[in-house]
Subunit: 291 residues, 2 copies
């Protein structure tokens, strides 16, 4: 199998597969020749090279692990190198554009979209972690080019590194991701931006910020290039979620202004119950569907 | 010394003072007689009773550890029981109303506002933790009734339980708290509310929510009665911070709609740098002023 891109995601996948001894050979396609050595040193691949054609032509499985818009281009650029019967999947955070690109692949290549729901606020190969996928949800988004073989191989990949698979269509994935991941990032970023504004007059903002602020703003320190790609690729959904958040903030402002504590309390209480219920089960979100 | 209210804050303070052997006697004023036994069993006080007058009349230091609006009432109700030279302080999350109430105390009582910047999403005495204040910031807000003796005694209290003291006026505290604590809560709550809306059509929202969502939404599970009190007592500042957040979201929506990636990237990048810088120093916010 070959992983294209040896950043946090690709590097972690390589390390996890080697640790689990799940593949005969893990190959990494790196952008710069110099990264090959680091990839090997970190046991993120058995073979690493910048020559994609050489590494991909006899691979049974190819996993694209670059930023979303790069994946959208690479599907077609690299699909031509793949042998008949080979399977392509990816680790991109937005799925519609990638699935659409996969449906234009040469007929001899199968493909299924993939997105492991995990991350870190540190990025790059040096942050790669063999346990990154342990207990996490790995979404698979089928395409017109996904036969049973592609689906089963992608499922084997995810379960080999400890993830649990959920299958859904790309449209549904992108809407959900816009809410729980992309809006999450933008609200965290909004909190830090307001704190920065406030700190212009009151620099002690940074002295007083405690654990609650730290947790709520953590994802705002995530990888920016990845996030810019995500926002651009999932623009309609991200915009819609921001609009819902703005409506909600408007409603809170109206309730606070009018002093209607009973309604405000009822609404905040519903949210509180929901949040408390969510992670009761061992820090894991309640699952409505696992496959 | 006497602590009024044996919830998370009061209970943790009692446990911490007993653990540090910082006081000759720690007394807890509890609301219901039945809570007295639990308070003693958890080593949160040496003496516990619902009779405030009995416990307060010869105390050197009285700490009010009830919700903000209760403290505002108790300052005057309980101040009358205190002996000449005794000091009153509190642990409330909003300070202007409390400081104003303290300035009306009988002349023989000194008083200084206090707010330890820490919390938990679980509340109540059973969640009390002797290490809750360790390494945290404890804000003191002086009043017209704060002499050197009151300030030093309150400082000794905070440092005895491992906190570091920052002195500022109540106005400044309340503006900063509205940003880093109250807005923080309301944005976390907004994220969960949007997820709940989204889950009406797409219940897999809860299946896919991962670590980023968990951290960003954590504070939304906090104690609601305390939060309702906070919002009501700090209404003007909370409203202003929500308004800043809404403006920021409007700006993000405009940038996403116009597709101006360069400006969006620059703005998100500044926030990212700020957030990364904040907690570099051992998970603690960079301090600009410690006293």
């Amino acid at each position: 199998m070959a992983i294209v891109g040896a950043g946090l995601m690709g590097g972690s996948l390589g390390k996890a597969l080697i640790k689990a001894q799940a593949c005969k050979e893990v190959r990494a396609v790196v952008r710069r020749k110099e990264s090959a050595r680091e990839t090997l040193d970190l046991h993120a691949a058995h073979v690493a090279d910048s020559d994609a054609e050489k590494l991909l032509r006899d691979a049974d499985l190819v996993v694209l692990a670059t930023p979303v818009r790069t994946i959208e281009r690479q599907v077609m650029d690299l699909g031509g190198f793949m042998k008949p019967g080979a399977v392509m999947t990816d680790m991109g955070s937005v799925k519609r554009g990638i699935v659409t690109a996969m449906e234009d692949l040469p007929l001899h290549v199968s493909a299924i979209g993939g997105h492991p729901m995990c991350g870190k606020e540190t990025s790059g190969l040096s942050a790669a972690d063999a346990d990154l996928f342990l207990g996490k949800t790995w979404v698979l988004t089928p395409t017109a080019r996904s036969g049973n073989h592609a689906t089963e191989l992608a499922r084997d990949l995810a379960t080999a590194v400890g993830a649990r698979v959920v299958i859904m269509d790309a449209e549904e994935h992108d809407t959900i991701a816009a809410c729980i991941s992309h809006l999450c990032y933008l609200l965290a970023s909004t909190l830090v931006a307001v704190a920065e504004d406030t700190a212009e007059d009151l620099p002690d903002v940074w002295t007083l910020a405690a654990g609650g602020f730290r947790d709520t703003s953590r994802v705002a320190a995530g990888d920016l290039t990845m996030m810019m790609d995500i926002i651009a690729s999932n623009r309609d959904n991200v915009y819609a979620m921001l609009s819902r958040a703005r409506d909600r903030i408007d409603r809170l402002m109206n309730l606070i202004e009018s002093g209607d504590e009973q309604v405000l309390r009822t609404e905040l209480s519903r949210v509180r119950e929901r949040r408390s219920a969510m992670f009761r089960n061992n820090g894991r979100a309640r699952s409505t569907r696992e496959q």
